[in-house]
Amino acid sequence: MNLRHQIRRFGAALACVAGAMLATDAHAQGQNRGDREQTIAIKADTVHLGNGETIENGVVLIVGGKIAGVGPGLAIPRGATVIEVERSSVTPGLIDAYARLERVDPFDAARRESGRGRLAEIVRRMHGDHETGAFACTCTGFDLCPAGHMHFEYEVDGVTCPLCAFPNHMPMEAASGLVSTASLTESSSEVVAHTSVLDSINLRGADFDRLAGGGVTTVFVSPDSAAVIGPRGAIVRTGGPVRGRVVEEQSAVQAAMNSDTFRFGPGNNPPFRGFVTNQTRRPNTRMGVTWVFRKAFYDSARHAEGLPVSGADTAPLAALDVLHRVRVGEVPLRVHARQKNDIESAFRMGREFGLSFTLLEATEAYELIDLLKDADATVVFGPIEADPTGPRRFTPEARRGRLGTFRELLDAGVRTALTAQDLRDENGLARQAMYAVWSGVSPGDALRAVTLTPAEILGIDDRVGSIEAGKDADLVVWSGEPLDPTSRPLLVLINGRVEVDRR
């Protein structure tokens, strides 16, 4: 083949790089083609179905990327590939209903030749020095700051970077090609429901590999909270052929009922001389946030009736169209609120416009159990952590969290999923479920909160979330019990295809 001939000419080192990549790609494609007929049987000591039930010595049958059956003594058809690992357990692929992806990797940025890239190089050197123990720097802003603020702060060694929490929590690979003023969320207006976060993320980013490595197979890619009513999120798989990863391109609209929009947004300042740009956006108080929220939905009603909308905080008309669909229930809504009063505001706004929504993060939910119960709320709670990382580190509410909140929500009958947000791998979603068990939740309930419950919340429980015949074969084979710290995902299958193999 001509191509192969060319590759031979690349030179030894390169041939390795390109050749390996080509080979894996070809291999993957070949595998993909074979999926339709391929039968896989996974035998495990324990099969956790995801709905709270468990089967001992179970077999999961996969035919053509779908689960064909599950049971204790299932006959394995002739010719099936048998996967059997001693003392292993199987769970459905974990689902994070509120995954936050890093926008951009400063190390990647350093390779680009922009001025900012050079600054990133400086940071890299600083971090490098930190690793040698010589001294450390802490970057509090730079590319990682949601506001795009560039400033460095040097502190004593041992301190982790407050935003990326380096070195404890590595910044992930590029989520976006946008290096400058990077934010997943469009913030040229406070209401940008017409934009889509999928346009800002890198489906090939290593962040997804890390998620898959931690057993997470489906995520709701969430925008950050830099605008009051932000873009629509997307539901994507963390592995498999890139073009087939998107489960839902235009998912829920995500609003932020908290201080992030003015704390971390791009420098909200009061407009002067009537000149409203996104450097002089409103709001900069909680009052302003609710005002923008209320005006947007009010305007969407006016706009839907063909009435004109006007005023300084008027949203783009395209966004109002989307909000109208939210109001009539065609598009789901999610509201990010951490503090008690923000959660209350969210429900107040919801009542005002007859909106139902999923509450996100909800750090202080323990204060409002009754409210959430009465409102029949749906919550994506988390992460549970002792020391917050990332921008949360600076929020007072994050330090007021209670380890028992998740359990209390479950006890009150509030439908609650767990999220790790931006935590990965060792501290990822499986760990969140482990912490939940530590706080007294039963392992079955904890596992359900990272599998079937988020699938239900995202409205994809007909496809994923539990091990049931007919669902997509998104499975994780663990080296032990899934919530045991000594075990880890050995195999991660997405659509019946092995994406992670640590055997």
């Binding site: 001509n2 060319q6 990549m21 680009r112 090609g177 400058s180 040229s188 999928l198 740009t277």
Partner: protein
């Protein structure tokens, strides 16, 4: 907005050029240096064919209007009576004038307007300065045409134009095609904290909106034209992922745009695979330099291997006139087929620029923009011996003199009237 941008009136060269001699006389009367006579025949040891391979000793005969009349074996057509207009280069290589794509030649800082995220009204060719140092240097380096693009500072970045690096008669900008393509970008430079967008999502929102409107037959007439067959679409991204994202709305519209990508071409190629040839993607790659990583340099070869049509951005300037040729040579070293590399400099580049009917190959009916080389231009030691534009020798290495209307080569500046 356009009015303030436009420096001098732009007129189509076509038609005027055919009056050739008369106008030369005219311009001579106007006090400009006389342009050299058109050659009637150029004979060279090797002549580049449209497929990128060499044809042994051939004679290129030109008509009076400066176009190629025929290409024949020089042996058959022994120059009977050796007409005065026959230029013979026995051991030399003859190629069409090279075409640099996604070029900034002659634009100085004129092609980045930042007053709004929609700059589709602006055309790079409107501000092209053929007497720019870079432009003359490019001509001397064998680059006779360039597709110049506005600096992408907005998602709807403007219109690309195809220009000749040599000025036309009267020292005017020789714009081959003013509105060659619409340029769309999600590279980092398009974000703007003052007017938006501030994110790739926002930039994509604008592009989706514009393309969507055009599909419905609404909105900007030029974008409709660009999505149709009248002009092309050029999309710019910094990363392979940018490109994937920006391709989305165009795919929906059934349009295959030309992709401009510098670094992550290998990623793009491996991810798109056979789709490239099936869909007929075109790529503008480069500019490449000696400090680039092997992965970067291997990208063009793999893209071409999958059947992609390539052209190169060269970054040619007066300080580095051979940048384009060096970039292509590097890509060749890392796996790009030499014939494909030569096509990428000439015929494929012309296809991407939408001017294949006039430029980029030595075929009957094409403009006689030709370059005579001492060696294969992919060789680093190849020198330019002579450059012809529309059959007229505008540069000769012998005398190291560029003979261009309105150009004082000795002084290295525009002629003073």
């Amino acid at each position: 907005m356009i009015g303030t941008q436009r420096k001098r009136p732009v007129r189509r060269r076509r038609g005027l050029g055919r009056f050739g001699a008369g106008l030369i006389a005219l311009s001579a009367c106007a006090g400009l240096a006389p342009a050299s006579e058109r050659a009637s025949e150029i004979v060279a040891g090797k002549v580049l064919q449209p497929d990128g391979t060499w044809r042994e000793s051939a004679a290129v005969r030109l008509d009076r209007s400066g176009r190629i009349a025929s290409v024949t074996d020089s042996d058959d057509q022994a120059p009977r009576g050796a007409s005065a207009g026959a230029h013979v280069y026995r051991d030399a290589y003859l190629t069409p004038g090279l075409i640099e794509l996604a070029s900034q030649i002659g634009l100085a800082a004129n092609a980045s307007e930042q007053t709004s995220p929609d700059q589709m009204d602006l055309s790079a060719g409107a501000v092209f300065d053929p007497f720019d140092r870079d432009s003359i240097a490019a001509l001397r380096a064998g680059i006779t045409s360039a597709m110049i693009v506005p600096t992408p500072r907005a998602p709807l970045a403007g219109r690309a134009s195809v220009v000749r690096t040599a000025p036309g008669e009267g020292g005017r900008a020789d714009v081959v095609k003013l509105d060659s393509a619409g340029v769309f970008s999600v590279a980092p430079g398009v974000t703007n904290t003052l007017f938006g967008p501030t994110s790739r999502a926002g930039a994509m929102g604008m592009i989706r909106d514009a393309v969507g409107q055009a599909r419905r037959g609404e909105g900007d007439a030029f974008i409709r034209a660009a999505l149709g067959r009248e002009a092309g679409c050029v999309v710019i991204g910094l990363t392979a992922d940018d490109v994937f994202t920006i391709l989305g709305p165009f795919e929906l519209a059934g349009v295959v745009p030309t992709v401009v990508l510098r670094e992550e071409t290998l990623d793009l190629a491996l991810a798109m695979g056979e789709e490239i040839a099936e869909t007929g993607y075109r790529f503008i790659v480069g500019q490449f330099g000696l400090s680039d990583r092997p992965e970067t340099l291997a990208g063009p070869g793999v893209l071409a291997g999958f059947g992609g049509v390539l052209g190169f951005a060269g970054g040619t300037s007066a300080d580095d006139p051979d940048a384009l040729r060096r970039g292509v040579a590097l890509a060749t070293r890392y796996g790009l087929d030499p014939a494909a590399a030569r096509r990428a400099l000439t015929s494929d580049a012309a296809r991407i620029a939408g001017v294949a009917d006039r430029l980029g190959s030595i075929e009957r009916g094409r403009d006689a923009d030709l370059v005579v080389w001492s060696h294969d231009p992919l060789r680093p030691d190849a020198r330019v011996i002579a450059v012809y534009v529309e059959g007229r020798r505008v540069y000769a290495a012998e005398t190291d003199a560029a003979t261009i209307d309105g150009w004082d080569d000795r002084a290295g500046r525009r002629q003073q009237r």
